[in-house]
């Protein structure tokens, strides 16, 4: 039988000085992070939530009008029938992917720096998937019948067409939403127990206590829990890759020039991670500043996220180059025309802005000066957020608006209702984020406590 000292020694030391501020102890971690929830409500938080809720209200208004009038109030028509609804769907679901990447893939790769950002990134995933899900549901035109996409015994005696990527998408996105939710919740259980134990009001103690499920931190529980958490991470990793691959197959299985490309699955996955890290930085940098979390979200975290953005950005740039090359090399007249039209046609400025936002500006991240500056990282992230949206616009609109027959060409432009729904989902996302950071521990106390204590326990062995 192995001795306890040996068993403890098989783990590499988790804590590295620059992943957590000096002098942090389990107690200081607990106090700081639960303090964000149990502390006073900041004035900025009230205003921020009010602003987010204002945007959300615009979305409610637009969707109500949509239900009254139908999807004709959007800019979609033949030939561009997908429009902003699908652009926004892909954009949001892509943003969600960084959350799973941070929490699952980086856990498996033993990248300890993920610890202080994983909880928040997982929450971001959930909220982004919630926003994403709205678009295809409302895009169907009759959202009250969207359950028809699910296989259930019905009086029509029909089943969904399982050979269609659109049905794969229903399965991929709903599985992703469910697994992201349980992964996030399982990660929260021990922290909910801490919140229960820190609560002073009985009502809070009971509320957190119910959701903590009676967690008491016994050693055998921790053992099962760690195994389950690791397995969830292991399952989420192929899942997240499959989700955006399936989303890309919605396009790639069609014959439309500009969509029918084998590069799509990897290129979409890289783009998703790229967009997601940009969004994590967009949210983390202000949050860290406003709640004074510099000891937990260090310079090192920001720099690493900048590096991931640079890497995935280069893969995305390779995807663009590959599309150009394949259009030329295929010798297919429609493919070639699509690329000429994409770069010099009526939407050339969208393509130009895409190149600026997604390819040119992120090259700044080669330089340490920019990677280590919160300001510059924030700025570059904004370019990437916009750039990834433009990428989906370019793919959806420039491919559809001029396909095989000149007689079926057309132009597409969004209406104010497209804007209103999009702003509404930004409001929904922001509202959920603001509520989340106020009522739940936004950083994983359990894992940070482990890191803060690790130096001590390993040092003694």
């Amino acid at each position: 039988m192995t001795t306890v000292s040996d068993a403890a020694g098989t783990r590499p030391p988790l804590g590295k000085p620059d992943f957590i501020g000096p002098g942090e102890t389990p107690q200081s971690v607990t106090d700081t992070i639960s303090g964000v929830v149990y502390g006073k409500t900041h004035r900025w938080w009230v205003f921020a939530l009010a602003g987010a809720f204002g945007l959300l209200s615009i979305g409610f208004l637009a969707l109500t009008w949509l239900l009254v009038k139908g999807v004709g109030i959007w800019g979609i028509n033949i030939p561009v029938a997908w429009g902003w609804a699908i652009i926004n769907f892909v954009w949001w679901i892509g943003i969600g992917h960084a959350g799973t990447l941070i929490s699952a893939i980086l856990l498996l790769l033993r990248q300890e720096w993920r610890t202080s950002i994983n909880r928040f990134a997982e929450a971001m995933t959930l909220f982004a998937v919630a926003c994403a899900g709205l678009f295809p549901i409302f895009h169907t035109g009759r959202p009250w019948l969207s359950y028809w996409m699910l296989p259930y015994p019905n009086t029509m005696q029909i089943w969904p067409q399982f050979r269609s990527p659109l049905i794969w998408d229903v399965f991929a996105v709903s599985t992703y939403a469910i697994i992201s939710l349980v992964f996030w919740y399982v990660g929260l259980i021990p922290d909910l127990a801490t919140m229960r134990d820190k609560a002073r009001r009985l009502s809070l103690k009971r509320t957190f206590g119910i959701f903590a499920l009676g967690w008491r931190g016994a050693a055998d529980h921790w053992h099962n829990y760690e195994k389950a958490y690791l397995l969830l991470a292991g399952l989420s990793t192929p899942l997240v890759l499959s989700v955006h691959s399936v989303v890309s197959l919605d396009f790639a299985v069609a014959q439309v020039p500009g969509w029918h490309a084998t590069i799509f699955p990897p290129y979409f996955v890289a783009g998703a991670i790229y967009a997601g890290f940009a969004m994590v930085l967009t949210l983390m940098i202000p949050l860290r500043h406003l709640f004074g979390l510099h000891a937990y979200i260090t310079q090192r975290h920001l720099e690493n996220m900048g590096k991931v953005m640079l890497t995935t950005g280069l893969i995305v740039a390779y995807g663009y180059a590959c599309e150009l090359f394949m259009a030329y090399y295929s010798g297919n007249v429609f493919e070639r025309y699509m690329m000429v039209n994409r770069t010099t046609g009526p939407y050339w400025y969208m393509y130009g802005m895409l190149m600026l936002c997604n390819v040119a500006v992120p090259q700044l991240l080669w330089f340490k000066r920019f990677r280590t500056s919160a300001f510059w990282l924030f700025l570059v992230s904004q370019f990437v957020n916009v750039g990834m949206w433009l990428e989906r616009f370019v793919i959806v609109v420039t491919s559809l608006h001029r396909d095989f027959l000149v007689s079926s060409w057309g132009m597409y432009s969004a209406t104010k209702w497209d804007w209103a729904v999009f702003l509404g989902t930004i409001g929904l996302f922001a509202s959920l984020i603001f509520i989340f950071i106020r009522i739940l521990p936004a950083l994983s106390m359990t894992e940070l406590k482990m890191i803060s204590a690790e130096g001590k326990s390993v040092g003694e062995h």
Binding site: T2, T3, V4, A7, A8, T10, T25, Q27, T30, P151, I158, W159, P160, Q161, F162, R163, I167, F171, A172, T175, I178, I179, V182, F183, V186, I189, P190, A193, T194, R196, D197, K198, L213, G214, R216, G217, A218, A219, D220, H221, W222, H223, N224, Y225, K227, A228, Y229, L231, L235, P238, L239, S242, L249, T446, K449, M450, A453, K456, S457, E460
Partner: protein, 183 residues
Amino acid sequence: MSTPQTAPRGPYGVVARFAEPTQLVHAAEAARDAGYRKMNCYSPYPIPGAWEAMGHRSRVPLVVLIGGIVGCFAGFGFITWTQVYDYPWNIGGRPLFSWPAFIPPTFETTILFAGLTAAIVGAVALNGLPRLHHPVFGIPSFERASQDRYFLVIEADDPQFELARTEEFLRGLDPEEVIAVEP
């Protein structure tokens, strides 16, 4: 809060509270060497070595594997049944059993079943949760077990357990406090 009891019961066990995680691991090891078997460690985060000291084995991986296999066969079987037998739909004479197209949704059901098994069975049910109360919650300072203190409980149903002797044993391990746990 107290409920009247018909017969006086003995304590649930004896608890020792430690300030450092290494003390907890050493204490668990010492208790095992002293012949104690029915005990448990309580800590705010997983402590490497704590469960090894108690010889615990986890069934989570096996359960999750079974969940995944069930999800895989259920998904593929269901899709095949709907597309080939219950609602065959001839599209240009292509084969009905076009199994490669069934793989992506089958993959998703596999992950779904395995993931839900890992979360619901692995992290919760195998731990005997959810549970409304447990005797250790009666330990006066037990709220620190989720914050910054480390507890070793030797349970009364251990054959070696003897209140005074076990308390004496735990006091020898340099804890902050040793007390009996109410049932």
